[in-house]
Amino acid sequence: MKTITKIAAGAALGVWGTMAQAADDVTLQLKWVTQAQFAGYYVAKDKGFYEEEGLNVTIKPGGPDIAPEQVIVGGGADVIVTWMAAGLAARERGVPLVNIAQPFKTGGLQVNCLKSTGVESPDDFAGRTMGVWFFGNEYPFYAWMASLGLETDGADENGVTVLKQAFSADPLIQGQADCISTMTYNEYNQIIEAGITPEELVTFNYLEMGFGMLEDGLYVLEDDLEDPEFKDKMVRFVRASMKGWKYAEENQEEAAEIVIDNDASGAQELDHQLYMVGEVAKLTAGSNGALDPADYEQTVKTLLSAVSEENPAITKEPEGAWTHEITDEALN
């Protein structure tokens, strides 16, 4: 029934012409589960922005054990959302990923410590227990610790104890860690909802500390870009996606509802998604979709500053890891 109404609505709007042509299939693999972190893509799909571009987009949610880099190389997706550190690491390991667009201008990764533990600045980290996310999200942390001269293998006067943190704020709330990783748009809110006030927290934003790394960008395989048809598809995909992002920034309540509608797991709640849309909008606000080469340089510099066994992201300067070809065409 839903399809029929959609087709009818499409015909009524006069976009029947584009629909009659066989729409090009595009599969997008997300980095994480369905949530407002990806609002722009869901909005673009629901509001018909993809359809207008003659695209039939499938959005595949990710999860804690899904590495988008692996999905794309296995042929499970045309384009993926991932963090640049993970994308560059994959590139060095033989998955030639190229950044074609960067909807997130700034990053939401931060470290939160309880003031009551006595942490006030990075100088107080020695001897502490810190929760870190792995699965490709640990690179900024190790870069930061290396720059502070802190070992990461134990809690003596020049080291920190690292915990593999699950994707929740529990370790801080339960006092198992002095500091934990949070995203501004997700776990930070969990801490607040657990009854800890912002005044009780010390927050370190990776970006402000100078260890920011570009977060959610769009990546494709280098070989695919040689195909003009594929390139054309990506141009239309990026154009529609950015339209979706900008729409989400301006219509946050609607965007949150669209995300809820698309959440097949039924796990997300509207209040939380609304909060998340608001926070994510702050991160996408400065971007028109084109990657700023300066941001790229900072990410690479940060990664290279702390190469070690724990932080094997990249060992040499990557080449050809991003392109403006798609965004130039999509945005002009």
């Binding site: 590495a67 880099e69 692996q70 390991r93 033989g94 998955v95 915990l163 593999k164 529990d170 094997p312």
Partner: protein, 279 residues
């Protein structure tokens, strides 16, 4: 192309050798050689296919790459082994099996416990690991103690059920005989009923070995210090160092087989009198 031919050739050669072995006279070395040849063939075909079709190492690394990684990261693998197998799995196994054994004896002694405790054991067995693990991490912290707790939960029930069953294995005639010898409860238990229960108890112990390893590894997925097999497997996938993941899997398989083998060996020694051990 050459590698594909190599894979095909290795398959044919391995097959022919094993057919010969199977048709030849039965001997000790032939029964040992057959699985070895099969395993070697599998590895050769794997290597040939991965190289021949240029499969990205992110999807499937070649056996030689995995072996090279095992050599290069031996220290890391050993530290993970100590953390997960020796600390997490073994201590949980000993505690879980030990507790289940004692409670089984208690259940056998006091019938009212049978009605009260067995359903609880049943209930615990039905708890899914992925539900329990985060809670146990919350209770016992991130280190191996919480992993041991998960293992305790996992091995407890098979051990309990088997032991309870085993304690009922001695038949009435044998018990009557003990009674005519004026043997009390404890003597009957030690001299007759526990030996009769041994095949059952070892069943529980054997099932527990693999469960213990699974429990300890999976529990590390839900928060852990930065050491351990489960930690390494889950994080190395994210770093796309799949050769390290396979190296860990290999170590886990080896440890699991050795653990099971040791318990099976002990069983052979203890229950030599049982019909199933006759050759």
């Amino acid at each position: 192309m050459g590698w594909v031919v190599f894979a095909f050739g290795a398959w044919i050669a391995g097959w022919l050798v094993n057919v010969r072995l199977a048709r030849g006279p039965v001997s000790w070395w032939a029964s040992l050689a057959a699985p070895l040849v099969f395993g070697a063939t599998l590895l050769a075909v794997w290597e040939g296919v991965v190289r021949g079709f240029a499969i990205n190492q992110v999807l499937l690394p070649a056996p030689t790459a995995i072996a090279a990684r095992m050599g290069a990261s031996a220290d890391l693998l050993w530290a993970d082994f100590v953390q997960t197998v020796l600390k997490g799995a073994l201590s949980g196994y000993v505690i879980g099996c030990g507790a289940a054994f004692l409670i089984a004896v208690a259940i056998d002694r006091f019938p009212f416990l049978q009605r009260g405790l067995l359903p609880v054991g049943n209930f615990v067995a039905a708890l899914p690991v992925i539900g329990m693990a985060p809670i146990l991490v919350m209770w016992f912290g991130f280190d191996w103690q919480s992993k041991a707790a998960v293992v305790v939960v996992m091995v407890f029930f098979p051990m309990l059920v088997n032991t309870v069953q085993g304690l009922q294995a001695a038949d009435a005639m044998q018990k009557d005989l003990m009674r005519t010898y004026a043997a009390g409860y404890w003597r009957t238990l030690v001299k007759l009923r526990l030996p009769c229960a041994m095949p059952f108890i070892f069943n529980g112990l054997k099932i527990g070995t693999t469960l213990a390893l699974i429990g300890a590894i999976v529990a590390e997925f839900f928060g852990s210090p930065i050491v351990g097999m489960g930690f390494r497997i889950s994080t190395s996938v994210g770093q796309l160092t799949l050769d390290l993941v396979w190296a860990e899997i290999f170590v886990a398989a080896l440890a699991g087989s050795a653990f099971y083998g040791l318990v099976a060996l002990a069983e052979q020694r203890v229950t030599f009198w049982h019909p199933s051990q006759r050759t």
